[in-house]
Amino acid sequence: MSPLIPLFIVIPLAGAFLTMILGRLLPNLNKYLASLILLTLAVLSVYALATTGENPSVYKVGGWEPVNRVPIGIYMVMDGFTVLVLCIINIVGFLSVFYSISYIRRYTSENFFYALFCLMVAGMNGVVLSGDLFNIFVFLEISVISAYALVAFGVEKNELEASFKYQVLGSMASFFILLGIGLIYWKTKTLNIADIREVLKAGSDRPFYIFVQLILLSGFGLKAAVIPFHAWLPDAHSSAPSPISAMLSGVLIKAVGIYVIIRLFFNMFELTENMSVLITTLGTLSMVIGVFLAIGQWDIKRLLAYHSISQMGYVVLSVGMGMIVITRGGAPEIAILAIAGGLFHLVNHAAFKGLLFLNAGAIEYTLGTRDLKEMGGLSRSMPATSATSFIASLSISGIPPFNGFFSKLIIIIAAIMAKFYLLAVLAVIVSIITLASFLKFQRYAFYNREESKIDRKIREVPFPMIFSMVIMSLLCIILSLLAFPGVRDAVLTPAINILTDPLKYSSIILGN
């Protein structure tokens, strides 16, 4: 039981409240304290990625050992999939906090911003680290309530309305999740994920379990913004301050939405063909409808928010394809390839979507507007922003040698090998339309021949913002190395093995 695991939750939780106390005494301390805390977490998560590998570690909180081989305590599990998402959360979190050192000067009450940010990171770390169903719910609520407050941070009309819409829909989803947890507890009398898998193998009650699976899919699907439940995302992600938009769109919808769906459907429930087809259909709909809604947008942050829906559709689509291949008894290599493409796209999307939102924030910081029709010719006066934005736009459209190309290529190859030709064609069409949408963004914002209509002195943004954007664009280039076999075996293969091997997860946790 390594003591590293609870530190991921304790450090940001204590740091949030320490920031509240010390921030009132010394004026500039809260920025540097929050940056230091998130830098520590980022280093710890990379260390965990290097040491975990193929052997997951289990932490029993309070030291309660199993009685008659039935787990009675709260378990925290760190395996290959967990540590991948932990790295995304902490590294993108550190870059966002560093960016907000100079961005947050436009707002008041900075104390609360850093405290809420650390609480949100603590909640997300808790969701990915827990091996217990109710613990997922508690940490999910912690992170999501902090996100409600951060969306409404600058209290103007747009932001309050967006936060209200987000809160009502998010609360309804949380109650669906709690209802699902109650119904599972009724039938299985246990809350540990591995133990529920053991109990579900014994008997079955088909209509009841389909009902519970649908309720949990609806609840977590709303947090992940798949298509029938996407109505809150464009308003919330476009009205938030830019580092918070980068965290919400780059990390939150993955850590509390897609991660939990993948974990529950692979490691807790038995895979059935109907649910796999349903998940793949939802992914395809998200992918197509998201990109068609994004073409006509002239507000840069709304454009990026709709593209988030579309790219998350790619991830759900490829994971669903993997599920269908496993349940129909097809070749396991195709399933592993599909899931690998999905997880690789998850990591890539965090990098380039975070970078795009930070760029949009830099444009808003200097010009004061978000409308594409009012900008122009920024590539001469803001060279760093325009270069990083160019790299990010090429990544999201899938142009080699950046990381988006490799992950989309793996997804399309997996679709062709599994004989889903319609899905492969749709993926290629959506990728072309994404390229068109981002070419429009680049042309109107940066490479327009006429100057922008705002008469302000346009200079480059301050140093912390440039630092974060440049590091993230370097990540976009480095992450394309994950497609090569050596690096892939160290990072992605442990995650895929723990998901697709039906006995490995429960045997390791219950056997310890």
Binding site: F134, F137, V138, E141, I145, Y148, A149, A152, V155, E156, K157, N158, L160, E161, A162, S163, F164, Q167, V168, S171, M172, S174, F175, L178, L179, G182, Y185, W186, L191, P234, D235, S239, G296, Q297, D299, R302
Partner: protein
Amino acid sequence: MIVYLLCFLLFLVGLYGVITRRNLIKIAISLSIMEFSTFLLLALVGYTDGGVAPIVDPASPVQKYVDPLPQAMVLTAIVIGLATTAMLMAIIIRLYRKYGTFDIREIKTLKG
């Protein structure tokens, strides 16, 4: 069995309230009704026939107790519900200050 169906009916009553009411405060109260129905379902799940309340009496420590785990879950969930309701109320007060009305049909500046 019929008790669980009644809890689910209460959940649907709350859902109807969130969807059809126009006043912001009534939406918040309907959300609270939805969450209380979930707590009722959780607390009822732990019932065993002939059980007593799960407090250990030193005189007779071995008895048939009701399941205490759902009760702990409901306590935690009540605290979370309080935080959510407080957050919603703060946003509603600020919305009233900006727009001057509680009617949700007037609050429509974000479109597209």
